[in-house]
């Protein structure tokens, strides 16, 4: 049994598991951790204290306010009858169980999305802001050189170098998308000239 198959049948499980499911749980730490988490949620929910039912006057006030806003149109007696609690259940137990089911459904959907059974860590690619993107090694060396010669200028060089690298990235993308576009080629040359200029200024030995 794979993790995907196990998670597919998870909502249907009661307190017992089949032999195949038990074997999978023993071999798969991700699924066993998931079951443990769900069981913990259920146990904690049972510890919640009963809250006192509010007085009928509170419910009436809420109903009047909702009607005034046009959010409900049913007559009050009928609405009260639809809101009557199901026999044998109390409202407070539904919330934690709903939360547990949401967690399980979320895990199932995520596993199907990644296609990697057993993956317990969500992989989400968050693009780094331009200022946080790692710089090429030659740029790092250049900045170290600038820092050694003119420490006060390091921040300015880094900011401008990042701006130029973004320029080059966009220009390369434009040029590659249409190699016959002369303007895009000119644009790319301009971007490279900027980078060459930054390097030249940083390494200019004429400035002591």
């Amino acid at each position: 049994m794979t993790c995907a198959e196990f998670e597919r049948v998870l909502p249907e499980l009661g307190g017992s598991h089949s032999i195949e499911q038990e074997a999978h749980l023993k071999s798969c730490s991700a699924c066993s951790d998931l079951i443990a988490d769900l069981n913990a949620i259920t146990r904690q929910a049972q510890l919640l204290k009963e809250s006192e039912e509010p007085s009928p006057w509170v419910w009436n006030s809420i109903e009047v306010a909702l009607r005034q806003e046009g959010l409900i149109r049913q007559p009050a007696p009928e609405l009260r009858s639809t809101l009557a609690p199901l026999p044998g259940w109390k409202l407070r137990w539904l919330v934690p169980l709903a939360a547990a089911l949401l967690v399980a459904v979320g895990m199932l959907m995520h596993e199907r999305g990644t296609g990697q059974p057993g993956a317990s860590v969500a992989k989400v690619t968050v693009p780094l802001p331009p200022s946080a993107e790692p710089m090429p090694s030659e740029d790092v060396q250049l900045l170290e050189t600038v820092a050694a010669r003119m420490p006060s200028m390091r921040a300015a060089y880094e900011a401008n170098l990042r701006s130029v690298n973004a320029y080059i990235r966009d220009a390369e993308q434009s040029a590659h998308s249409d190699p016959n576009d002369e303007e895009a080629q000119r644009y790319l040359m301009s971007a490279y000239e900027q980078r060459a200029m930054v390097y030249e200024m940083a390494l200019d030995r004429s400035l002591p």
């Binding site: 200028m153 701006s163 000119r186």
Partner: protein, 283 residues
């Protein structure tokens, strides 16, 4: 006793005055160089302004104001080439290493200026002007029949009344302002700085204003004679002029690219940006 007290007081005051002068250590130096036609003058000054103006026909006059004893001026002359360098001594910083230069040159002299902080100013010359500044603001005005090359990291650049020559400006994030600039080649390359052009684009020339994310604004008169192409990949492109369509491989797209001619299309104008806004305005 009164005399002795007065003398002692006077002596103390004089010592204090002399001590204050010594601490200030501002020193003014002047250098004169005899040169011929088409001299080449180079000034390299890490901290402080450099101002270049026209002077006597065959002489270069350099006036330097040194702000401390931690900087000295190295100067040399080899043939028609004059070189002036601010030599920083140990412990110098942006304040103590500052030198203010006033330079008078023949109008046909070529001038090369390098500075980190500037500002840099050149005016009324007919010789080539090469200016390089990191954060320095650069101003060049009233230069004709010459090449003007400017490079800055983030220093703003202002060119005024530059005619009949080549103009090449490269600035990463400094704003570039061109007022009445025309010539056979005008090329501005900026990454994130804004480009503002106010002129008539001459009667023949190649004008290229290119930026990555900076906005480009070009203001031209109704009688301008240009063949214009404008494109921004992600920014808006606007024109106040009704352009005549021309046969070109350039693909025009409303709001992001346009191409056409005005008048006799004497000059070629390219306004290109990746994400900046481009606006060709009518004066």
């Amino acid at each position: 006793m009164c005399r002795k007290q007065f003398a002692a007081t006077f002596a103390i005051v004089m010592v204090l005055v002399l001590a204050s002068f010594a601490a200030d250590e501002t020193t003014r130096k002047e250098f004169h160089f005899k040169v011929g036609h088409h001299a080449s003058v180079s000034v390299i000054n890490q901290y402080g302004p450099i101002s270049v103006r026209p002077g006597p026909a065959k002489e270069v006059v350099v006036t330097a104001l040194l702000h401390s004893g931690k900087v000295e001026v190295d100067q040399s002359k080899n043939g028609k080439r004059v070189s002036v360098l601010s030599h920083l001594l140990e412990g110098a910083d942006a304040d103590t290493g500052r030198v203010d230069y006033e330079v008078l040159v023949p109008t046909d002299a070529s001038v090369t200026l390098h500075s980190t902080t500037g500002p840099l100013h050149v005016e009324k010359l007919h010789g080539d002007v090469i200016v390089e500044g990191n954060t320095a603001s650069v101003e060049v005005r009233d230069v004709s029949a010459a090449h003007v090359h400017v490079k800055t990291l983030n220093g703003p650049v202002t060119l005024t009344n530059i005619t009949d020559g080549h103009v090449e400006i490269t600035s990463v994030s400094g704003d570039v302002v061109l007022n009445a600039v025309s010539g056979s080649l005008v090329n501005v390359n900026s990454s994130s700085g804004k480009i503002h052009y106010d002129g008539d684009f001459g009667n023949s020339g190649e004008y290229s204003l290119t930026s990555h994310s900076g906005d480009i604004e070009a203001i031209a008169p109704a009688f301008a004679s240009i063949d214009v192409v404008a494109r921004s990949v992600q920014g808006k492109v606007l024109t106040d002029f009704p352009l005549q369509p021309e046969h070109t491989s350039f693909v025009a797209r409303a709001g992001s690219a346009f191409a056409g001619t005005m008048g006799k299309a004497a000059s070629s104008v390219k306004l290109l940006s990746f994400s900046g806004k481009i606006h060709l305005k009518k004066r």
